[in-house]
Structure formats: C-alpha cells, structure tokens
C-alpha cells in the first residue's frame, strides 16, 4: 500500500464530524425487536427474513433445552454468553421471565438469574449454539441498520 492510499483511507476530523449518526432510538428498537429496524427503514423483505431467521434459531435453541447466558461470579465466559444471548432483545427477556418469573428476574440481577435449559439433555450444547447464534445475528442486524440509517448502505 502506498502512502497516498493511506491518506485517502482515513477521514479527517471535519469529515468524521460531517457524517450523520444513526438515531439511538432506532438502534434500540432494532436490538429489542428482531427485524424492526429494517422495517422502520422501509426494508421490509430484509426485516421479515431477519425476524424469521432469528426467531426460528431462538425457538430451536429453547426446544433443544439450551441455556440462556446469565452472569455468574468467577466465570468470565458466562459474561460472553450473556452478551451473545442479550443480543436476542425481547426474546431474551421473555424467556428469562418464563424461567425466573417477573419478580425473580428483577430480584436476580445480576448474579441470581437462571438461564433454563437442561445440561443432561442431548441437545443442550446444540441449543446453546442456536441461542448464541440468534443473538449475535440480531446484533449484526443492528449494525446493518446503523449503516443504512447513516447512508453508507442501501
């Protein structure tokens, strides 16, 4: 790569300031409800496909007795699992309320939450994979919504 290329790759401070920012409320809705961000931006086909894929992966994970990530003290990997599963937005909270009850959800934060699932089940590890995948895919849709809202992608 030449020096000229490196100059053109990096935007100056003025160019960076001029770039529009995605509305935080839009990104929040895109995270909370899979497909909603694309729907609001008029990308209805993509919204439908993303919603269907993410919900299907999440339900598969639950049916396979997968465990939703919940933070555990002394277990840093549980935080990564929580991050991935939190990506599911409202699906995560609905499942957590299903398992812990509404009072249990509020009272169990941060270290008293049960993620459900059955480690003895044959599909436990597969279920976890589906739950993590669904959450991470939804987080990617949030980044895609951000790109579209800022005009960097159509």
């Amino acid at each position: 790569m030449t020096a000229d290329n490196s100059k053109t790759d990096k935007a100056g401070p003025n160019e960076a300031e001029a770039r529009p920012k995605a509305p935080p409320a839009l990104l929040f809705v895109a995270w909370l409800i899979p497909g909603a961000g694309h729907w609001i931006l008029g990308k209805k086909l993509r919204a439908g496909v993303f919603a269907a894929v993410i919900v299907a992966a999440f339900i598969t994970g639950v049916l396979l007795d997968g465990e939703l990530g919940a933070p555990e003290p002394g277990n840093p990997f549980s935080w990564l699992a929580t991050f991935a599963c939190l990506g599911n937005g409202v699906l995560y909270f609905v499942r957590m309320i299903w398992i812990n009850g509404f009072g249990g959800l509020l009272g169990g934060i941060p270290f008293g939450l049960a993620g459900g699932g059955n480690p003895a089940a044959a599909g436990f590890a597969y279920g976890n994979t589906f739950l993590y995948t669904a959450g991470l895919m939804n987080l990617l849709t949030v980044l895609d919504v951000s790109d579209i809202a800022r005009g960097e992608k159509s």
Binding site: R46, V53, T129, M137, T141
Partner: protein
C-alpha cells in the same frame, strides 16, 4: 435427535441470514447462500470424517 438435521438447519438459517445481510440482488443472494450453505454442510461433514481416527 438427528445431528445432521441440526447441522443442516443451522447452516440454512445462517446462510439465509448472511445472504440477505451482505447482498442486495436476488442473484447475489442466491449465489452467496449456496456457497456458504454448501461450505458449512460439506465442510462440517468432511471435518467430522477427518476427526474420525482420533479418540
């Protein structure tokens, strides 16, 4: 529970997702879907066979 079915189901969902995320034309989506789907399914089965001799 059929492990191969779960593999194909996972590959199908992920391939459809990335086809719609990364491509905007029908042809581009179809091509990317087929490529990623086949790579995931065939690659996983091949990897499984390669791991077969190991305990």
């Amino acid at each position: 529970m059929d492990h191969l079915f779960l593999l194909v189901w996972q590959a199908l969902l992920v391939s459809v997702f990335f086809a719609f995320l990364w491509r905007s034309t029908a042809k581009g989506r179809r091509n990317l879907f087929l490529r990623t789907f086949i790579i995931m399914v065939v690659g996983s089965v091949l990897l499984g066979w390669l791991m077969y001799p190991f305990p």
